[in-house]
Amino acid sequence: MPVPAEDPALLAAFEARIAAGESIEPKDWMPERYRKQLTRMMSQHAHSEIVGMLPEGNWITRAPSLRRKLSLIAKVQDEAGHGLYIYCGTETLGVDRHELVEQLLDGRAKYSSIFNYPTLAWADMGVIGWLVDGAAIVNQTVLAKASYGPYARAMVRICKEENFHKRQGYEICTVLANGTPAQKAMLQDSVNRFWWPALMMFGPSDTNSPNSAELLRWRVKRKTNDELRQRFVNLTVPQAIALGLTIPDPDLHFNEATGDWEFGEIDWSEFYEVVKGNGPCNQERMETRRAAHENGEWVRAAATAHAEKQRARRDTAAA
């Protein structure tokens, strides 16, 4: 990848600001690579929120109590809100939302692979909140200290809501874990399906993560993928134990010396297959988003046409 030549003085000043822990704001000078990396990360994040509405949206119509139905709708709505909020953040980097949406729909942009797994049972609504939001929070808590101000501030707000979602998810799991045998089995099956994909959410191992070094230096990232993954496992295993659940990893064990829960080898071939588009739901997710976009075309056209008519009427009235 060709790195654009930057003014060495500006670059040095920029890196000094970063090193001093300062926040970079939209109007500040920044290297093109920094802008690109941030755009990539933020748009992936926004896309993930949008696509992430689908696996949970899949159970809104089947939520088993009114209270759960309300909180699931509210959660999916929050995700739409996060998407909107981060798309606005990318606009501070000079990238238009519509351009990003196009990139998502034509398959150029990526989003978190976790959303290419299907939701097959109500328990998934608990487990996604607990494990998937849990993993996201571990990632995002660190991003909330990222060097780019608008992103960091968005993360602070989003993390707050996701912490709420995670607690809600864990509460769903708690009720199921204390429920009927069928509910317990449903919960365990869901954990069996989501455990490894959740670990994969932190991305490739550090040895295979091409962007990591630069992102760390520029404080776009603050921890390596493996560090974050370990932090997540350490947080989560005791919660699973508290619920009486079995983690589907025969190699999982506690290392007294390090205080880490050490886990087995991740199936990276699965990870790369899903990233390549061959996950269980990649095609369905994209088809659903494209259908929503295409079916909405006439609505957006109507809104534009109406706004223009209104403007013309105001102009005529003013003339």
Binding site: S65, L70, A302
Partner: protein, 250 residues
């Protein structure tokens, strides 16, 4: 009619539960992200209102059924919602026209009920009125936007209106249940409701350049459990998890 108040509350609650559920079916599929949020908001409000009303209905009924028992363990023919709210989402025009026709009715109804002689219901009405006013603003703005938008949006919106109109008369019908609760202090002036609704709807349709359909072949039956075939399919989905685990807590 064993318990007219419980019956009346079920009608109020079921209207909102069913319409809220229909709106929630849009989640993740709206034409713009802002509408994913707005439709979810309305769904949340309506299901929230339904929850309070059905809880009250269950208490009034006094047979140990709470709001979840009423929502998830009644068959279709025991539902008491008007036919309008159970009609399928169709395209965005159908959803927004359906919403507008209902919102106009609901705002006017809550306005009356917020002064009614049943304290619990009056409180729910006052709270719901506030929220439904926002819904009405949102849905009437969209009806105007779509009606007075492009040729295609105009045609779709007029078609939605023509299709849904036959379900509006039912909202203003009175029967023995209404008379019985009126005697209990829950008196709705149906004629005034209808005439205010007419005015409100006519105004928005005019701004939307839409033609008000003639009153032919009204459909009714929802208030006595004679629904369209759509409701049963909606409930099959809605109740599937709850019914698969009878007696479970969630």
């Amino acid at each position: 009619m064993a318990n007219p108040l419980a019956e009346y509350l079920q009608r109020l609650g079921d209207d909102r539960l069913v319409l809220g559920h229909r709106l929630s079916e849009w989640c993740g599929h709206a034409p713009i992200l802002e509408e994913d949020i707005a439709l979810s908001n309305m769904a949340l409000d309506l299901i929230g209102h339904a929850t309070s009303i059905l809880a009250l209905a269950g208490a009034v009924e006094g047979q140990g059924r709470d709001e979840d028992a009423l929502a998830f363990f009644r068959d279709g023919t025991a539902f008491r919602n008007a036919l309008l709210v159970e009609q399928p989402n169709g395209d965005f025009a159908v959803t927004l026209v359906r919403q507008f026709l209902f919102d106009a009715y609901s705002v006017l109804l809550w306005d009356q009920l917020s002064h009614c002689g049943h304290e619990g219901l009056a409180a729910i009405a006052a709270k719901s009125l506030k929220e439904d006013k926002y819904h009405l603003r949102h849905s009437s703005e969209w009806v105007v936007r779509l009606g007075d938008g492009t040729d295609e949006s105009h045609a779709r919106t007029q078609r939605a209106l023509d299709t849904l109109w036959k379900y509006t008369a039912e909202l203003f019908e009175r029967d023995a249940v209404d008379d019985a609760v009126a005697a209990m202090g829950i008196a709705v002036d149906t004629a005034a409701l209808r005439s205010l609704w007419d005015g409100l709807v006519n105004d928005v349709l005019q701004r939307a350049t839409l033609t008000r359909p003639p009153e032919t072949g009204p459909r009714r039956g929802g208030r006595t459990g004679r629904h369209s075939e759509h409701l049963g399919h909606m409930l099959a989905t809605m109740q599937s998890v709850a019914r698969a685990h009878p007696g479970a807590r969630w």
